[in-house]
Amino acid sequence: MSDRSDIVQVTDVVVEFDGFRALDVPYFGIDRGELRVLIGPNGAGKTTLCDVISGKTRPKSGRIVIDDREVTDWPETAIARLGVGRKFQTPSVFDGLSVYENMELALPAQRGLRGALAGRASWRDERRILALLERVHLRALARTPARMLSHGQRQWLEIAMLMVSGARILLVDEPAAGLTDDETRLTAELLRDLAGAHTVLVIEHDMEFVRRLQSRVTVLNAGKILAEGSLEAVQADPRVREAYLGRGKHG
């Protein structure tokens, strides 16, 4: 299974919380430009896997390689600068700033102190921002403070921020949670478009949404990888059925 060409390689990673083994993955990799979906029941370790890749959580053992660089001990800022973008489970945008300013901060411009004193974004960046806002139907709200946005709009703003940030690897945690059907459809479309130029890892519960993404699926359960493959193949797997039905809740 180990494939040297994978852009994200998680090898022999173990994460423990007070003796509880939250994650135990011999190998997990994502190919360059791939769109991958991570599913699994609650507490399966999906978010923890994202945390490990983005540097928020340090594994007890194992190594993480991104784009041929070992980043196991890097701080999250350095990993982010390497091109790993992240959308959190609960939408997190900067409430005190306007939609446009949120986008502006996400630009891959100078992120050091010196860059901070520079002026506004260039006209080219501005047009990119406005075009992206157009796509997520936020163009008209560009000057509105982000705290005024609805839940779905915040989700989109966060995805749009990822898109403008120049990140090459996107970790997207539950992008469809709390969205209407129309919004869900648009979100799936966005993510499919992003794949190819970007490598995308999506965590999702909503099977309808996962089906729309038409991508490879990895199933996590109790911190371990249970199955990998197309959605149909995975759903046919008796172990996956047991993991879901055995708990009798999610499915």
């Binding site: 409430d95 102190l113 004193l117």
Partner: protein, 374 residues
């Protein structure tokens, strides 16, 4: 920023509309306030409507308002509550005070009189080595900026790096203030213990008791306040300012966008410390004394009260709050001295509970309502 057409005074006067006047005033109030502080007050003094003690008091309040601006930058914008601003203020004050003491009356082998008072062994006393360079005004000026700045840099960097924030940071800064205050109260630090530095006579060759010097010091303080307010306003309008707001709203998000919040928070903290240090240096010659009492824990909390009452996150709010509460204090302590602590405590609780926007927030709401009715 383009200036709305109806904000031109002539236009407003022609319209004769109450709402337009209100908006005009709202837009120009900061500039009007600045003019009043820098030119109006000395004018009133020249006309004899203010006496020398009023002028000195206003000069001191201008310095305190600068501290409030600094706190507003770290607390109002970056969301980092610091309870040690008056510590930086006092450090700046001491740097200036040491310069002044070295040029005041000297006893023995050129030792400032304040040092003699607290020494248990005045005979054969030597001037401590670290006092000597403060005789040089350039060195003292550098110390005013560098001592608070470097302390803030080291302390802030260590604290922010280990992700001490929120209430943790607030308490740690208060602990630092208390520790330094205890230290400055000690006589063996050779900074004159609880008596502090006093006996100042000359500043850069000017006689501190002369009226002209006093007016000059006032004008310099007021002008520095206006300049600081303007500079911080400009700073908050840059990308740096937006990043501070982003730190306040969601620090984790910022980190995953590839920014290092530690650098921004430390920078804001250092700027605030330097502003406080300069304010302290201007304050000292006007009061004629600087003591460790200037940096007790409560002093720094008072700065928070000013900013909270004036309006957190707005530079004008910090200035208005600092001036308003200090003037209120000056008035009430002469009228009903025993009541002041209760008024202060109650004011504080009520503002936090019921007026999170402070005076400026209330004013903005008032202006908006005026616009709606117009």
């Amino acid at each position: 920023m383009p200036r709305p057409r109806d904000l031109v005074l002539a236009e407003v006067l022609r319209q004769r509309s109450w709402a337009a006047g209100l908006r005009w005033f709202d837009y120009h109030a900061p500039a009007l306030g600045a003019l009043l502080l820098v030119f109006g007050v000395p004018g009133l003094f020249a006309l004899g409507l203010l006496d020398q003690s009023d002028l000195a008091r206003l000069g001191r309040y201008c310095c305190l308002a600068m501290v409030a601006i600094g706190l507003d930058l770290v607390w109002g914008y970056a969301g980092v509550l610091s309870l040690c601003q008056m510590m930086f203020f006092t450090l700046g004050g001491y740097a200036c005070g040491m310069y002044l003491a070295m040029h005041g009356p000297l006893d023995g082998d050129g030792i400032p009189r304040a040092l003699f008072v607290v020494s248990s062994d005045p005979e054969g006393m030597q001037l401590p080595w670290f006092w000597k360079p403060f005789a040089d005004p350039w060195f003292a000026a550098a110390a005013v900026v560098l001592i608070p700045g470097l302390l803030a840099l080291v302390f802030g960097w260590l604290a922010f790096r280990s992700r001490i924030r929120g209430v943790y940071f607030a308490i740690i800064t208060q602990a630092a203030t208390v520790a330094l205050w205890l230290l400055f109260c000690r006589n063996d630090l050779q900074l004159c213990g609880t008596n502090g530095l006093t006996n100042f006579t000359r500043l850069l060759g000017f006689d501190l008791t002369a009226t002209a010097t006093k007016v000059g010091l006032y004008i310099v303080s007021a002008a520095t306040l206006v300049l600081t307010a303007w500079a911080v306003l400009r700073l908050t309008a840059t990308r740096f300012g937006r990043l501070l707001l982003a730190v306040r709203d969601n620090e984790a998000r910022l980190r995953f966008l590839g920014y290092d919040p530690v650098a921004y928070k430390t920078a804001a903290f250092v700027i605030a410390a330097v502003i406080a240090g300069i304010a302290g240096a201007l304050y000292t010659p006007q009061t004629g004394i600087i003591t460790p009492a200037n940096m007790t824990a409560i002093e720094s909390i008072l700065v928070v009260v000013w900013v909270a009452v004036g309006g957190r996150g707005t530079v004008t709010g910090a200035v208005v709050g600092a001036l308003a509460i200090n003037l209120l204090y000056a008035w009430l302590t002469t009228e009903v001295p025993r009541l002041w602590p209760f008024i202060l405590g109650a004011l504080f609780i009520l503002v936090v509970l019921f007026a999170p926007g402070g005076l400026v927030g209330a004013w903005r709401a008032f202006v908006r309502r005026g616009e709606r009715t117009a």
